[in-house]
Amino acid sequence: MTSTPRRTPPSAPAARLIAPLLAAVFAIGVTFFITYRIFGGETLDAVMQAINDRQTEANDFAAILFINALVGISVALFIVQLRRIALRVTITVVVALIFGFIMTTVFNLDSANRYIRGEFRVSVVTEAEVIEDEAADMEYGQARGDDFNRQGVLNPISEAAYTFAGRQGDLINVLAYAANRRSEVDLQVELIAPDGTSIGASNFATDEQVEQFDDLQSVNDAIIQGITLPADGLYTIHVRPQDLQTGTILSEALTNTRGAYEAFLLGAISRVNRWAVWIQDALTLILVGLAISIVFRARQFSLGAEGQLYFGALVSGVIALSGGALPGWIIIPVALVAAMTAGFLWGLLPGILKAYLNANELVSTLMLNTIAVRFYELVLTFQLQPPEAGYTASSDYPLSGQLPVLVANTQVTIAVFIVIIAVIAVWLLITRTPLGYEIRTAGSNLKFANYGGINTKRTIMLSLAVSGIVAGLAGAHLGMGIHRMLILNISLGLAFEGVVVALLARNNPLVIPFTGLLYAYLRSGAQFMERDANISFEIVRIIQAVIILLITAEALLAFVQSRRKLTTPAEPSTPTTTMESPRLIIESSAGEKKNV
């Protein structure tokens, strides 16, 4: 890629070797680490056993290893292509993850609340005779209770008092306990004599007491055992949850967050089926990222990938569903080509609007996205949904309309090869074809491109349309590879995810596989975090926003530096920093003037 030479120090052949060496080490390491983790991550024997089981069961260990090797290769490409920038990208992601960690901790600050929240019961256990008294709340042997700090209640209660009638000399035990196993409330109880003095208090139960009394369930419950009542009269039991210490709150929050982050960062490679969720999501993201990178290369802020994806999914779905008895090797290529065509045409529209009418491509693509989604819903609801279906979805694709599976019982399909071809094709397009040259030139300096004799209008139009081809393919993959039917909301803002993928990769098609895998890793990890630790999936979208903010700010830093070094005649295309708007150039030059 042309982005590398500018960054490499010209001297020291040894230094030039470092990157490939590092890349090779990382690639092999990543491949083996992932393989090791998804087969248990325990002792080597256990891993070998798991692999053998898988081997006999589905005979696809080779496919898994192959895909993991591809992951390794993408890591290597990332290092070799970006070199020092790779470090910066990594730092950006790590900073964003730390931010996410802090957010999660804040969300978890209430996790200690389970100790002050929940249903409880209070009872007086005694062998003495029951005393009946209208004025008392309860009597011997009875249990009364309520719900401390219940959520969503206007005035939650945080303490309670119950009275019972007592007789002098009765030997009683006062119990306060959580009403059910789910409630983890940590109680303390106090017994007040009729004259108002406290005659007993407790905030725990010993293990023996838990054994002895059936009602007690844990040491968090409280018991005042063996009190002899001093006088006749109405006794009061005060019960309330134990006060929370700041330390408890923080340590609980951190423990929970650590647990959540473990699910977040390692969840995707804990089992083969979770690994498959990661890989299939990555395939989609790589395609969307490629689509976005093409338009970003031409410095067009088009987010049309979403709409193109919907059309790709729709068109390929219609073909897959109507294929009937035709064999898969006919239907699948036809469906893919149709999806690509649909994406191309839906991208051509904003392309024409932008190139020939100068309509703001961001607004127009966002509007066209909504139109595409509504159209998709229209056709899906009224044409494709089988009448007996309970929810809005098409019927399952016939087997001939599904992409053949590579790893049994997962949705990891031959889309792997489609993605490899797409990556190479986009790379060739950008770096080795006249159109790619025009896109790069128009993206880095539109005026220069115009004076250089490039038909920039045509270039801009085609950049949006060609990006649609790849996005359409992503839609086809969603339909034919992952869901195997058409569903509502088949993509929720994938175009925005594509922005992150493309930005992290500096719009370099060879790096996009890595950033796509990385981002899909976070996305699928967030799913598992939500499932395992009840932390909202949206945390990953917050991280996404932080990444965009940091990476663009950083990109501009590089841009400013490169402008300062005007002594070396730079190439007209500066692919690592293609994202600055013209106004900024004006601004930064104004800033320089001020400095002079």
Partner: protein
């Protein structure tokens, strides 16, 4: 079926509905206008609206027991605007200080607004769809004094339109004048416009461009906050995830259409409000709901096209003016550009016909089966294609209007007749409808200056 729609469209209640649905477009549009004029277009309006809508709903619910039901909505409004303004300042920080890309930082703001609201909502209520569990409040509604109802002739109408509108609606329409005043009657507005037109020049005369832009972004965040509050606390009293549904992006297009000034922006917002309200009303027909839901978005795309074509023709005419110099006939060319806009409009409306045709053919089951849908679709499609074809020559080259005035007259009256005829057939029988339509179409063409165009330009008429 059609009657109910017709009756509801021609009623004061419909006008009231337009005002209501215009509010959440108008407020962020004014924000977009301010940021646009300062040269820092705020792409993050959508996210800021979401942040404000969420904060307003949540804070009003939690403030109600503390400060009382009367005051709580205002506390909600205040904190909502606090959130949206700080998001805008964050955007400013990343763009102006850290030199991040403005558009992508704006996109990040949108992602942040959408994600953070859902995440916090989930934390608070355990629900990720809406905040229905919280007892959120509404902004107060303004009741008009009863005597307005007693004014003869227009009183009842005015009363129906303006009574019981949310206070946010009143704020929105007064904001038009507030923004106008800020932009054109204060030193700050002057600096703001200068910073947008030519930052280097502004800098050289001592305007602190960066500071002005921070302020402009903050103001646009404020208006986005108002808009968001109207969504969650105007007529609803809950927050739904992504409830802005693209209004923040529509708001980016309205200032363009409104000629980049507050009043024009207000009018453009009303147009979108009309389409929005229309979409709601058409929803009561036996049509798939997706079709009317597309309308506002199609309207935005068309607005972008119309704006672009208009600009291009303006440039052509301006070039002609500089060539002809003193012989340039101002009023004549004004008429020509007006009529060319008419052609653009005619073709654009026909585009809706094409979209309807595609929908009819793609999902005939939604429209009563293939037997009904295909013929109707074919007719609409052919008619729309025809209308586009006859109007396109006059759009692509504005000079053709002068050379082939008669053809232009025929094309525009024919197109107008079709649209008026369709519209009038809601009220009358076919033949009278067509007749009235022809007369109306011709009248409109005349009013727009058709006769003046046919007479041709008189080179000596207008001294420059």
């Amino acid at each position: 079926m059609f009657e109910t729609v017709r009756d509801s469209i021609f009623s004061a209640l419909f006008l009231a509905a337009i005002l209501r649905v215009t509010t959440p477009i108008l407020l962020p549009s004014l924000g977009a206008l301010i940021s646009d004029r300062a040269g820092v277009i705020n792409i993050g309006l959508e996210g800021m609206m979401l942040g404000a809508a969420f904060t307003g709903a949540v804070v009003s619910a939690f403030a109600a027991p503390v400060v009382g039901v009367e005051l709580a909505p205002w506390v909600g409004l205040l904190s909502a605007c606090g959130i949206s303004v700080s998001m805008a300042l964050l955007l400013g920080l990343f763009h102006l200080r850290f030199k991040g890309d403005l558009i992508l930082s704006g996109v990040a703001m949108n992602v942040l607004g959408s994600a953070a609201t859902v995440a916090i909502l989930y934390e608070l209520t355990g629900n990720r769809g809406d905040s229905g569990d919280l007892a959120s409040l509404q902004m107060p509604f303004i009741q008009l004094p009863a005597f307005i109802n007693d004014i003869p002739l227009i009183g009842g109408f005015l009363y129906t339109v303006f009574n019981n509108q949310s206070v946010m609606t009143w704020i929105a329409f007064f904001s038009i004048f507030a923004v106008w005043f800020i932009l054109y009657r204060t030193p700050f507005g002057m600096h703001l416009r200068a910073s947008g037109e030519n930052p280097s020049a502004a800098e050289s005369v001592g305007i602190r461009v960066t500071r002005v832009r921070y302020a402009a972004l903050a103001l646009s965040g404020l208006f986005a906050g108002f808009g968001g509050v109207h969504l969650s606390m105007g007529y609803l009293s809950l927050f739904q995830r992504d409830m802005t549904s693209g209004r923040g992006f529509i708001a980016l297009a309205t200032p363009l259409l409104g000629g980049n000034n507050p009043v024009g922006t207000g009018i453009a917002s009303l147009v979108f409000g009309f389409f929005d309200a229309l979409a709601i009303r058409i929803g009561s027909l036996q049509l798939p709901s997706m079709l009317p839901q597309m309308i506002p978005y199609i309207a935005v795309v068309m607005a972008l096209v119309i704006y672009a074509l208009q600009t291009r023709q303006l440039l052509r005419v301006r070039a002609l003016r500089s060539v002809e110099g003193i012989h340039f006939d101002v009023s004549y060319w004004r008429v020509v550009s007006r009529l060319s806009v008419l052609h653009v409009l005619m073709a654009m409306i026909a585009v809706i016909g094409i979209i309807i045709t595609i929908s009819l053919f793609s999902a005939p089951d939604g429209f009563g089966g293939a037997a009904v849908a295909y013929p109707i679709g074919a007719i609409i499609g052919i008619a729309s294609a025809l209308l586009i074809v006859i109007n396109i020559p006059f759009i692509s080259r504005v000079e053709r209007l002068t050379a082939q005035g008669m053809w232009s007259a025929a094309a525009s009256t024919l197109s107008l007749t079709v649209y008026f005829g369709l519209f009038l057939s809601l009220f009358f029988d076919t033949i009278p409808a067509v007749l009235i339509a022809v007369v109306l179409a011709f009248a409109v063409w005349l009013v727009l200056g058709g006769w003046r165009m046919l007479r041709g330009s008189s080179p000596t008429a207008a001294p420059a």
